[in-house]
């Protein structure tokens, strides 16, 4: 066990060193367009992975919440006169306070979405969150005076200035924020609140019978989802320097969902793995033409096909696949099982989960147990 632990420690150390060295040795394109971009997308996907994997809430509103934070940041931090649209709006706050307020507002909007959808489960929850996302997109698009219509806002600058002028610093900002969120959520998973979310995911009815106000906990989880998505939105606005309704349209919603599923809905780290993979494919597909076949035009087809293959072959995503392979190699029998909807069992729709395949993890994260 100590050997495995020290092995794990060395691997972690090597990864950290690589991540820190990366912007020093890689060209600007790889630092910004690939790495920083992936982290920003990864944080948005992580908000979905956390809600879905640990709370059973597959929210399609995460891109909208991120976009909301970006718009709030623009409205809070732009100075009216430099406003590209010539609108008189803009509070002219410094970037950090503007960002903090924007993230707080995204948290509040997430909680509001949570309150609206607190009694919806499964496909109804999916539809409701999608409706909220699309509704918000049209609000942004149609209220030209407030949101700048399809043009949006330009000239948004973060605390590190224009990313193009100082890629490593912006990269480190993204890395620090990603790491903080990732570690924070991993801590939360084994906290009272995190266990509550998982209880809700597995059996909301039992949670209510144990004395929990399930609706309130769902609001809290959606608030956390809004918080994380909001951070992604703020970083994204700083990264691009401008925002337009495209950052929260249906394409972006699907993008976040695809990234989360590619990485693995049960694995927080999967959000980042999925984001890197997705970004690489997206960037390189556009420059490849083989025998007259332009990958750029077929990008959506390719990603769509890849998505279908992943869902069919590896329902727990790339990380799920790797986890399974690792367990098979090391013969570590995983004690992690897929959660079965108890109401479905009661209704006789699925068999009681007594003997289940041992290769269907729902939870990843650390192994810190709750017992003594």
């Amino acid at each position: 066990m100590t050997w495995a632990r020290s092995q794990q420690g060395i691997t972690t150390l090597a990864i950290v060193a690589l991540l820190l060295l990366y912007p020093q040795v890689m060209p600007r394109f790889w630092v910004l367009s690939i790495a920083a971009n992936s982290m920003i997308l990864g944080i948005a996907a992580l908000s979905l992975v956390f809600m879905a994997g640990y709370g059973g809430m597959t929210s399609l509103a995460q891109a909208a919440l991120a976009g909301f934070a970006a718009y709030m940041l623009a409205l809070l931090s732009l100075v009216p006169s430099t406003n590209a649209t010539g609108s008189a709006l803009g509070a002219g706050l410094p970037s950090i306070p503007g960002a903090l307020i924007a993230i707080a507002l995204a948290t509040a909007l997430g909680a509001l979405f949570g309150a609206i959808s607190s009694r919806s489960y499964g496909i109804y929850f999916l539809m409701l969150t999608l409706a909220l996302a699309v509704g918000f997109y049209y609000i942004v698009l149609q209220n030209y005076d407030v949101f700048g219509g399809h043009i949006g806002f330009a000239g948004i600058e973060g605390p590190t200035g224009q990313p193009r002028e100082d890629p490593p610093t912006f990269y480190y900002l993204c890395l620090a924020v990603s790491a903080a969120i990732y570690l924070g959520l991993r801590y939360l998973v084994r906290s009272q609140l995190g266990l509550t979310f998982q209880g809700m995911r597995d059996n909301p009815r039992r949670m209510a019978a144990l004395g929990y106000r399930v609706g309130a906990h769902r609001v809290a989880l959606f608030g956390i989802g809004g918080f994380v998505a909001g951070i992604s939105g703020v970083l994204g606005a700083w990264y691009r320097g401008n925002i337009s309704p495209g950052i929260l349209d249906l394409n972006r919603t699907i993008e976040v969902l695809i990234v989360a599923v590619i990485g693995g809905l049960g694995y927080p780290i999967g959000a980042f793995v999925g984001a890197v993979l997705y970004t690489l494919i997206k960037v390189f597909a556009s420059s490849v033409t083989i025998a007259g076949f332009s990958f750029d035009e077929r990008f959506n087809t390719l990603v769509g096909l890849g998505f279908v293959v992943i869902v069919l072959v590896a329902p727990n995503g790339i990380v799920g696949l790797a986890d399974r392979a690792y367990r098979a190699v090391t013969h570590r029998s995983g004690a992690r099982r897929r959660a079965v909807d108890p109401l479905a069992v009661e209704a006789g729709l699925v068999p009681a989960p007594v003997a289940q395949p041992p290769d269907a993890p729902v939870i990843a994260g650390d192994d810190v147990p709750t017992g003594s």
Binding site: L210, A335, R336, V340, P342, V354, P369, T370, G371, S372
Partner: protein, 257 residues
Amino acid sequence: MAAGAPVPALRLQGVGRRFGALQALHDVSMEVAAGERRAILGPNGAGKTTLFNVVAGDFPPTSGSVELFGTDVTRLAPYARTRLGVCRTYQTSQLFMGLTVAQSLFLAIRGASGGRFSPLRPKPDDRSRVRAAEIAEAVGLAADLQTAVGSLSHGQQRQLEVGMALAGSPRLLMLDEPAAGLSRAERITLTDLIKRLPRDITVVIVEHDMDVALAVADRVTVMAEGTPLVEGDPEEIQSNRTVQDIYLGHAVGGRHG
């Protein structure tokens, strides 16, 4: 009831519950005294589980009222009733398949005791964690604290059901067929466990296994077709003609036999 008389743990008055055209409960009136052990018997479909659901608040009755410890809870949400001290088990296990035994018991303890929104991890010497280990011991799961609920045997899952109900520090404990699917040895352990519960816990048990039901019960209510027919102590019930006709006759070779 005369002033000064003890408040019953549970009082139902004219409770009815309808599912579409089906009248699952009809004019149920009964009282369970504090500290009593009450068995509810009746053939399949008699409405026993529906009665539990109405008392626990899974759905409201379509008529009548439910009182717990003197408080009218007819319209109260399930979580609020739990905080009044109602803990129950389910006929079909309602467990957290993705969590461990320790985590499940921990959630059950904290659900009743507060700190439900704490973003902190419990320390190893946390009182709730220590208590979770004690309860696991009491229901024979001490060796399985770190086992995923989904990997427990059926019998162990049934025991965890009971453990999670006990973990909520119940004043009224409702057990819905806790012995179903248990081995003989497990049934004896369960019977002992129920018999050893302190008398400040009121117990209502639905059980098809007569050995278990009659071993723990002070009083027995026999239900059929959504309504209580007979109430009495175990000897009276066993010798009652009506009961033999409507229930015992059916039960022999019935669902578990």
